[in-house]
Symmetry: C2
Subunit: 205 residues, 2 copies
């Protein structure tokens, strides 16, 4: 994930971020057809019509490209979850929507879109930085939501906040982590509702 | 899983169930070295020193042998869980022990004992009869425990019993199903305690 900070030779070509975007779009397309694991940077270069060296000018490795695709994908999930929560007023309703929207977005992006599954699976099993940061932001969102509910009197206050956050994250894990999600497909319809209800019962004052 | 019910020719050899046991023991040993998926009934016959036809006299397929190994393994988990619960008096304590003992037994039998993992994984993904029956018995145990706690006044009675049972089963799934368990190893230490506490909060009257 290094940026080329050294000034490039004067050029009238596209800006760096445009080339990076172009590579990411082409790589996403290529990975979707031939798989992430099997593709090398040479394959990618040939397919895009760039030299391998030119791609390495923008990305230090295949994983660096994969990470950017992964970052985009995780950001998309967060945007959808935020939109789903924004409509709700009360903390319990927000929690229900959090379960539902995050399961649905993960399902669509990780599983139904097979081109992203392989990258998401590598990211999750190798614990890429993008995944760790995503999980931390998810945890922060959950913490914020619980604090809001504790202040409004909707949620109990006896359980240490850290413990409540951590245990709810464990409950949601099979529907957020692509490695578990692929083996949870028979419960993605019912689970968000059932589990949100169970968690809300556990939070009742 | 067919039994050879036709009377065999008069013989002073071992009883059928002894031969079946002998095949299962040898097969477990063989699968552990060479893997379940890769091994054929011919390989197995050669390794045990039986003819292929003789093995087919007792088992209709490799899966039938795998199912018996799987049944033994699941029975072992149930024995350990029952023993762990038997020591406890109060329903909440029983539930804690159910979480802990079933996670530990699944971990040891499915994951640490690599020879069983491959069979357990096939059993879980192909939903063998042994797995379905095991899940049903697990559900029945959970239902019994909840009813006991409702009668003793330890657990709330508002939530429909079916819903409570189903949602708790979903919470425990990552630690019981070998396909999910293999991706949950970083949380098997803490999760049983944290999740049992969350579930007990959800059950408080």
């Amino acid at each position: 994930m290094t940026e080329t900070n050294t000034p490039a030779a004067p050029t009238r070509g596209p800006a760096d971020h445009e080339v990076r975007d172009q590579i990411v779009v082409a790589a996403t397309e290529h990975f979707s057809r031939y798989g992430y694991e099997k593709t090398t940077v040479s394959d990618l270069a040939k397919a895009i019509g760039f030299s391998k060296a030119y791609i390495y000018k923008f990305f230090e490795s295949k994983q660096a490209i994969g990470e950017l695709i992964c970052v985009n994908c995780l950001r998309q999930i967060e945007v959808e979850v935020a939109a789903a929560i924004a409509d709700a007023k009360l903390p319990p309703d927000k929690l229900r929507r959090l379960f539902k929207a995050s399961t649905e977005a993960s399902l669509r992006l990780f599983v139904q879109d097979r081109k992203l599954y392989e990258i998401a699976a590598s990211a999750a099993s190798e614990r890429w930085q993008a995944v760790i940061a995503y999980e931390e932001r998810f945890q922060a969102l959950l913490r914020e939501l619980l604090q809001e509910g504790r202040q409004s009197g909707d949620f109990e206050r006896k359980t240490p906040l850290d413990e409540a956050v951590m245990s709810i994250q464990l409950v949601m894990r099979p529907y957020l982590n692509p490695l578990l999600l692929q083996h949870s497909l028979d419960s993605t319809d019912q689970a968000p509702t059932l589990l949100a209800s169970l968690v809300l019962r556990s939070l009742s004052p």
